[in-house]
Point group: C2
């Protein structure tokens, strides 16, 4: 985006698309709501990505979902007919959180994890010892018992991701590790998403709810890995040579995908196949509030299939 000018959320018609895509060498895609919805590919999305790849664009996948490994994302892309991706093109908040801890923790220090087996697998892959995934129970009938449960002496970080086994027992242990370690115990959250939307308008509580509960108990703020944090973009940029000015962030959420892209100096492209309507964008655009204006993308499409005409020979 030109410095100083306001982002205008222009519809990316084929002529403009040819220009915008021509000026880019890398595209970062959010996944759910952009490439697929649940277990079905967005119609035309696999073809659009195949053509982008045929034009030698670098494709990366940037997702706040902490319940899947890089390998699982590569496999899902393959299964839904997207061009083959290597796991290293996938930047999920599970992998990026593991990467963060592998650099921030002293050798042999461990993480207490409120999260999925996938989060555990990514930690294992980068050599960070950990405990926590799976169900947990309070170790006795009363508060005095709860604060006497054993603590692992190696734990120097609490990592909060999506955890269907989140419970009061885990919240207690997280607080105890954070109290024991003080500022020497890291507190990391994979993302702050309030909800995860499902097909048909249903939704389940997102990781942000769990991060917030731990933050409030610990009376401190977590370091956040996922969008809109720029850490997840820094992971991409440290793995590949990325020029922000030649990079497009494609997403369906304003407060994560678009905000991160705007904050990192990328060109931002909203697709309407996910959770956002054009009316919401207009509200932000017409607002006087700088933080709302930072949610406005440069461009939008109804679906990334709309990029196909600009990619014909």
């Amino acid at each position: 985006m030109a410095e100083g000018s306001a982002r205008r959320c222009l519809r990316l018609e084929p002529a403009a698309a040819r220009e915008v895509l021509g000026a880019a060498d890398t595209l970062l895609f959010d996944c759910d709501g952009v490439l697929w919805r649940g277990d079905a590919a967005v119609a035309g999305a696999p073809a659009a990505l195949s053509r982008l790849q045929a034009r030698a664009k670098r494709l990366c996948y940037v997702t706040n979902n902490s319940s899947r490994t890089r390998d699982a994302y590569a496999e899902k892309l393959r299964r839904l007919g997207f061009p083959p991706a290597e796991p290293r093109q996938v930047f999920g908040s599970a992998y990026c959180a593991a990467r963060y801890l592998s650099r921030a923790l002293p050798p042999d220090a461990a993480a207490y994890v409120l999260g999925s087996p996938a989060l555990g697998a990514e930690l294992r892959a980068v050599g960070v010892p950990h405990l926590g995934p799976g169900p947990a129970a309070l170790p006795g009938p009363g508060p005095a018992d709860w604060t006497r449960a054993p603590l692992d002496p190696a734990v120097r970080a609490v990592l909060v991701g999506f955890d269907e086994h989140f419970c009061y027992a885990k919240l207690c242990q997280a607080l105890r590790y954070l109290q024991r370690g003080g500022p020497d115990c890291l507190l990391v959250g994979t993302n702050r998403d309030h909800r995860l939307p499902l097909e048909g308008g249903a939704a389940i509580p997102g990781t942000g709810c769990l991060v917030k509960a731990v933050e409030m108990a610990a009376e401190r703020e977590a370091f956040i890995i996922g969008k809109p944090s720029r850490y997840i973009f820094d992971c991409v940029a440290s793995e590949f040579k990325i020029e922000p000015a030649r990079t497009i962030m494609v997403g369906d959420r304003l407060d994560t995908d678009i905000l991160m892209g705007n904050n990192c100096g990328l060109t931002t492209l909203l697709t309407l196949t996910g959770v956002t309507t054009l009316e919401e964008v207009k509200g932000h655009q017409e607002s006087d509030c700088p933080s709302r204006k930072s949610l406005v993308p440069d461009y939008y499409v109804d679906s990334i299939a709309d990029l196909l005409p600009a990619l014909e020979d």
Copy 2:
């Protein structure tokens, strides 16, 4: 406190105490950290309350703890040697939440409760149907199953209190009831306490952490029953004839007890047997910030046993 003058957190020496207590007809006591710590009475506290009662002062007990019924508090007061109290002198956040819902809900509407059996008992006592206390499990392996679990058609409120069985399954159900009912489904929290302090410096996560998780999932704010909300004082004032100017709030916490007392026009007395130090008060007192100044009490004592000399014949 005199209108317009700043509260000064003066030590309540016997001469001043005689005057302050003489001008009061009602004292509201927080319990844990004021009357007792864990299961032991603060030395001299039972004698101080007995003498206050002998002087025909009305004594009430105002606590954010949602894990005990009024009856259980009356019994604990008796067991620790305090003057006999009737359950109607006890204003716990469990009772007050039940009272709120019994007035706010339409007839036969039910509450989904994240809370203790005591919270359930108080709801039963005022005739509010409810479900929820106790353990809960997710109804299947994946998100699609979670959003298909049965919902009680009568539920028109979600009530969040202290819940050692708090878990992701309950967070899901709370969100579903709130989404189904929209603004017609009430969201009520017993209190926002971050932590519950235990003896020896340990602490467990407080109800505020659980309320926050539900608020974030639901993307709306809960109505709060406990201190510093004035609702809990309004409960006292509707049960007894209370003149705020002739009422003293005695507590150990600035952001709950003292703030509520100050907001409601009561005389506020801090006791140092609980979680607060004089240094914290000084920090607020010297601050320019009005919201910090509102945490400064009128008076303090090291212990409410310090009131004894002023109560001698």
